[in-house]
């Protein structure tokens, strides 16, 4: 079953056509890479998929439901979740609370429950702590759970952001340059984590990345864009040797 289907997606900023005629379909459990030179429109595509930008044309389906006309927080409820190129954590909140925020919509106690600490409040809060701790454990962050997010080392912050995205229980995870700013060892570690979480959480992943070793190493399928248009699709081997891709990256 297709988790994410994008048809004929396009957006214009004034006269500039930033993304044009973009199609993609991601199946359950797939790991797809989205690459392209700087300014090709990769992050713009993510912003379209998550509702930060409103597309000029085309349609986006997540779990066969259209995201058009939905706000970013409603799109999350359809089953997609993302991380950001420049990490966006809730810096002055604890690591645990960063995850608990993402459980917000799976709790249901109201204002009354908040004030009188009803049974429902306690049950839901305790459960959130438990699930969050388990999730942190998977990422090896359990021991930091009472630290403020801003005090984590860079690599761990990246992981926390991924963990937080997972906490919304998505069917598809969108990772925007997860290895940006990491050293080779951290990148290696990240690759392991991505492989692991894909197995453990039964999700599909679409990732933007510049680190070719990571992309070629873990992606099953790669889509290459340039100037907002798809110039190549295929498995890592095919992409590596595709003349259009080489031209896009190295110029004529």
């Amino acid at each position: 079953m297709s988790v994410l289907t994008v048809k004929n997606l396009g957006i214009s900023f004034g006269g500039l056509r930033a993304v044009d005629n973009f199609d993609i379909s991601i199946e359950n459990d797939e790991l797809v890479g989205l690459i392209g030179p700087n300014g090709a429109g990769k992050t713009t595509i993510f912003n379209l998929l998550t509702g930060v930008y409103i597309p000029t044309d085309g349609d986006i389906l997540i779990n066969n439901k259209s995201t058009l006309g939905k706000k970013p927080n409603e799109i999350v409820m359809l089953g997609s979740s993302r991380t950001f190129q420049n990490i966006r954590l809730f810096k002055n909140m604890t690591v645990l609370d960063n995850i608990k925020i993402a459980y917000h919509n799976r709790m249901s106690y109201g204002l009354f429950g908040s004030i009188f600490k009803t049974k429902k409040y306690r049950l839901e809060e305790n459960k959130a702590v438990q699930i969050a701790s388990e999730l942190l454990d998977v990422f090896g962050l359990d021991m930091y759970k009472n630290d403020l997010a801003k005090n984590l080392p860079y690599g761990k912050q990246r992981k926390l952001e991924i963990a937080r995205a997972l906490a919304t229980n998505p069917k598809i995870l969108l990772l925007d340059e997860p290895a940006a700013g990491m050293n080779p060892q951290e990148t290696e570690e990240l690759m392991e984590t991505i492989k692991l979480l894909k197995k453990q959480f039964d999700i599909s992943i679409l990732l933007i990345e510049h680190d070719m070793r990571l992309v070629m190493g873990i992606c099953e399928r790669i889509v290459v864009i340039d100037y907002g248009k798809i110039i190549a699709k295929g498995n890592p081997e095919a992409i590596r040797t595709n003349p259009d891709v080489i031209k896009a990256y190295l110029g004529e």
């Binding site: 998550t50 930060v52 706000k71 970013p72 927080n73 999350v76 409820m77 979740s81 993302r82 950001f84 966006r88 954590l89 809730f90 810096k91 002055n92 909140m93 609370d97 608990k100 925020i101 993402a102 459980y103 917000h104 919509n105 709790m107 106690y109 204002l111 429950g113 908040s114 004030i115 600490k117 409040y121 839901e124 809060e125 959130a128 937080r164 995205a165 906490a167 919304t168």
Partner: protein
Amino acid sequence: MDKLKQLHKTLVNNKFINYTVVFFIFIILFLLINSGVINRYLSNLIIMILIMIVMATSLNIATGFLGQLHLGHAAFMGIGAYTAGIIGIALQDVIASDLLLFLVATFGAMITAGFAGFLVGTPALRLRGDYLGIMTLGFGEIVRTVITNLKSITNGAQGLSGIPRIMTFPIAFWTTVIVVTLIFLFMNSRHGRAIISIREDEIASESVGINITRYKLLGFILASMFAGVGGSMFAFKESFLAPISFNFIKSVEIFVIVVLGGMGSLSGSIIAAIVLVFLPEYLRDFNQYRYLLYSSVLIIIMLYRPQGLMGTKEINFIKIKTWIKSKYTKVFLKGSD
């Protein structure tokens, strides 16, 4: 004896220790006021401090926790004060109990102030940062002009007089305790967390499924409603209201308390309210320098300690107790060596 032990245990039990401390503060102040050790002037000052605590903790919801620059908080206080004052005048012969009259008037004040918060918040919260600040400031000035010009209801610039002077220390104290407790409990729920996450990063908050429009509005309305409570307390304490009491300078005064205490710390707001209301009054000769002090404090804090006295931390008597206990045990162990 067993019963006494049981009582002692309940009182210093972790869960209750905060309430116990609050209760003892009340008893001590109450006895001091009733026995005349604290004179009328000072007890009035204490009530003023309590009002400023309500104003600062409520502004803290919008500015400290939600992270929105709000420069018109006094306007909501004014709306609450006038509502409560008008209800108080109308019903003083109908409702015999002072407490009941206060409660009814405060309820009215919360509704009008909350509604005003809704009216302003709905469009205003689309704006960011300084633009929102300017808009709330503009709204505050509009409210002041409206109050001044609606002579038939508010008696205009001359002011509204004849409000029953029913504010006593116990009513003010417990109203403040209830407001602060409600805000504290609210902030420690999923709703409070959602509000804080908006302060931290709006875009990230939205990306994990928080309806930021809804929570911004909720935070803004709650802040306004509790400002209405502060206004009601003020009306029944002063017995006289003039539009000038709720101008931009008043909004800034409240704002300074929140910033000094630490944006996002309720105990910080409480301490800062005590310090900033007490200090200038205590140093009477100093009074002409009062705002010079306020403004210098504001600038110096922003330059050298932008997070305020407390940052986002809270004073918690449970932690203090554990801390004292650990010290005590250490001393005890050393002694037995």
